[in-house]
């Protein structure tokens, strides 16, 4: 098992390298240079060149890449072209916001999605199936920022209970959490439902019934654990997607997370910011995926055996 974890952690290195190459390439072909961007229309070509030289932007792209990566090895992610702030410090300050929003969102989605999903599978064809399923279809089709805006209309504009922007108080987390929770909860619900329906048709569920187990015992003891296995995978993927996908939600609610940081960087062609932000997201993503795999191994003995074996 430890071997497996180490192997996975080692595998993160080429992934991160690959991500940095891809993002750097895309950024290199993005039109514009930081000098022009910072000085605006007011700067002369000489001023712009001078500033670009100072920022190290006059070097060819591959040299800049290697310079950047050697810096990154010493945990120096450079400074923002625009703000002159250390990217590492900024990332360390913003990552917790993104992670906690994503985590709260996922947690809410599970709290909403799993019980309702199981319920609608068990009560298939009844109202208890129809209503959650309908809501799930609706929410799964809605853009996250639209759901967020609707919550804002309700909680901030109509009721005036919650701040529409920022996280100066703990209240600020509520709407981002709920909007992400609703959307991903809808997915979790649909997934739990179909997984559960699939599971209760399995032979071993019939075996359990043939042993004389009650409907309830069959569902909770035999079907549940098996049905949740694929749900774990989906939740892991959702969590990963949420880390980046929360960009929209972060922007909407004005949260100082990695998402807003990167978007601002992309718009300003602030290469160190985008590189640093994306690489940290990729690292977070890989860690989340690893944790999910470990959780999967914990609940599924077959997977555990595979990891523990020589192949792991």
């Amino acid at each position: 098992m430890y071997k497996y974890v180490l192997k996975r952690l080692a595998w993160m290195i080429p992934i991160i390298l690959g991500v940095s190459v891809i993002i750097f390439c895309i950024l290199s072909v993005t039109p514009g240079d930081p000098g022009t961007f910072i000085l605006g229309a007011g700067g002369t070509q000489a001023d712009v060149d001078e500033l670009n030289r100072k920022l190290g932007y006059d070097l060819p792209a591959w040299q800049r890449y290697f310079k950047y990566m050697f810096g990154a090895l010493r945990l120096d992610l450079g400074t923002s072209y625009m703000t002159k702030l250390s990217v590492l410090d900024e990332v360390l300050a913003k990552a917790p916001v993104s992670v906690s929003v994503a985590f709260l969102g996922i947690l809410t989605s599970l709290v909403i999605g799993i019980p309702l999903g199981v319920l609608s599978a068990v009560k298939q064809y009844s109202l208890l199936d129809a209503i959650p399923t309908f809501l799930a279809i609706f929410l799964a089709a809605a853009p996250s920022f639209w759901v967020g805006l609707m919550l804002m209309v309700f909680f901030s504009v109509k009721l005036g209970w919650l701040p529409s922007q920022g996280i100066t108080s703990i209240k600020g987390y509520f709407m981002p959490m709920l909007s992400l929770g609703l959307i991903y909860g809808a997915q979790t619900l649909r997934f739990t439902r179909s997984s559960m329906l699939e599971t209760i048709r399995q032979d071993y569920v019939r075996t359990a019934k043939a042993k004389g187990a009650s409907e309830r015992a069959v569902i909770w003891k035999h079907a549940m654990q098996n049905a949740l296995l694929p749900v774990i995978t989906v939740t892991g993927n959702n969590f990963g997607a949420l880390l980046g996908g929360a960009i929209v939600t972060e922007t909407l609610f004005g949260l100082p997370g990695l998402g807003t940081y990167i978007v601002a960087g992309i718009k300003a062609k602030d290469i160190p910011v985008v590189m640093g932000g994306t690489i940290s997201l990729a690292i977070l993503f890989s860690i989340v995926m690893l944790l999910m795999d470990l959780l999967y191994a914990y609940v599924d003995p077959r997977i555990k055996a595979k990891y523990a074996g020589n192949r792991g």
Partner: protein
């Protein structure tokens, strides 16, 4: 006269989906005495498994519907029992072994845990946890699995071993009736023999009555006291093992099944001989004899509804041609 354990009377089952209605079982009757083994043979899709599931009331919900009939177990109609009482019977009085041991066990629970569950569900004697565990060891040993492996998960066992686990689970509570649905079909030939031997031994030791569903006539010859031949949801011929294997007169379908009827002494496995044509569409069954389209002796009278013809006190067949010779 042996005591009747199970009596199925005029049972009909259909599967209803949005798209079609499948008439799986159409008015079958048979009975089973205590300690006796009945073999139900027939092609895939003849309604054998449906019959078994109906006895245990495990038909797929909403889809599987019992049209008519009774299933009397020790004189009590199982089809009329409340679900709660039926639950108590399942696994305790009546157990079932399913066809595919690979999928019959829950992959995330240990095999010991799954056997213990059967015991715990029917723990009228209020045995303690230790006593239950001791019983699990005993049952595992009975089917030839070292009790030290009870903490293992299903994926750690081979197909034959898994089927032993399933058998252990089914017999843990020493049921009066065991329904085995093609218990060896999914296994390798060498393993099949071992598992059959084990089942025969345990049946004899525990005095369990058994319904053995199979399409393997060799298995029937080895295991059964009586045989029922099923075709398109009907029992076309019923009789003792000797009636079916050595009797002079048979339903044309049975004749087709056997190709040439093998000698009882001949232990070699005789698989079904292919019969030309296919079973009738179960969504649209003909009124008269269901075997008519494939029968070499078909005539006008076959289009009428067929009755069981008694060939001997123990032997009946559902074909009018056999009537003339009586």
């Amino acid at each position: 006269m042996a005591e009747t354990l199970l009596e199925v009377k005029d049972l009909a089952v259909k599967y209803k989906t949005d798209l079609e209605t499948v008439f799986a079982v159409n008015g079958i009757s048979f009975s089973l005495n205590k300690g006796e083994t009945l073999g139900i043979v027939g092609e895939t899709g003849a309604g054998k498994t449906t019959t078994a599931l109906t006895i245990l009331r495990l038909l797929p919900e909403r889809v599987g519907v019992v049209g008519k009939g009774q299933v009397l177990f020790e004189g009590e109609d199982l089809l009329a029992l409340p679900e709660h009482d039926m639950m108590k019977k399942r696994g305790d009085k009546i157990s079932m072994i399913f066809q595919d041991p690979m999928t019959s066990l829950n992959p995330v629970h240990t095999i010991g845990g799954q056997i213990a569950e059967a015991l715990r569900l029917h723990n009228e004697k209020n045995r303690t946890r230790e006593q239950l565990e001791a019983r699990v060891d005993e049952v595992l040993e009975m089917v030839g699995i070292p009790p030290s492996r009870k903490g293992d998960y299903p994926h750690q066992f081979s197909g034959g071993m898994k089927q032993r686990v399933v058998i252990a689970m089914a017999l843990a509570c020493e049921p009066d009736l065991l329904i085995a649905d093609e218990p060896t079909t999914a296994l390798d030939v060498t393993i099949q023999a071992q598992v059959l031997l084990l089942m025969r031994e345990l049946r004899d030791r525990l005095q369990t009555a058994m319904i053995l569903i199979t399409h393997d006539l060799g298995v029937v010859a080895q295991m059964c006291d009586r045989v029922a031949v099923m075709y398109a949801g009907e029992l076309v011929e019923k009789g003792t093992l000797a009636d079916i294997f050595t009797g002079a007169r048979h339903h044309p379908y049975t004749q087709g099944l056997f190709g040439s009827i093998p000698k009882l002494e001949d232990e070699s496995k005789t698989l079904l001989h292919p019969i030309d044509g296919l079973m009738p569409d179960p969504t649209d069954l003909p009124e008269g004899c269901r075997f008519l389209p494939r029968c070499p002796h078909a005539c006008e009278k076959c289009k009428e509804k067929q009755e069981d013809i008694a060939l001997s006190p123990t032997h009946t067949a559902r074909c009018h041609m056999l009537e003339r010779k009586v």
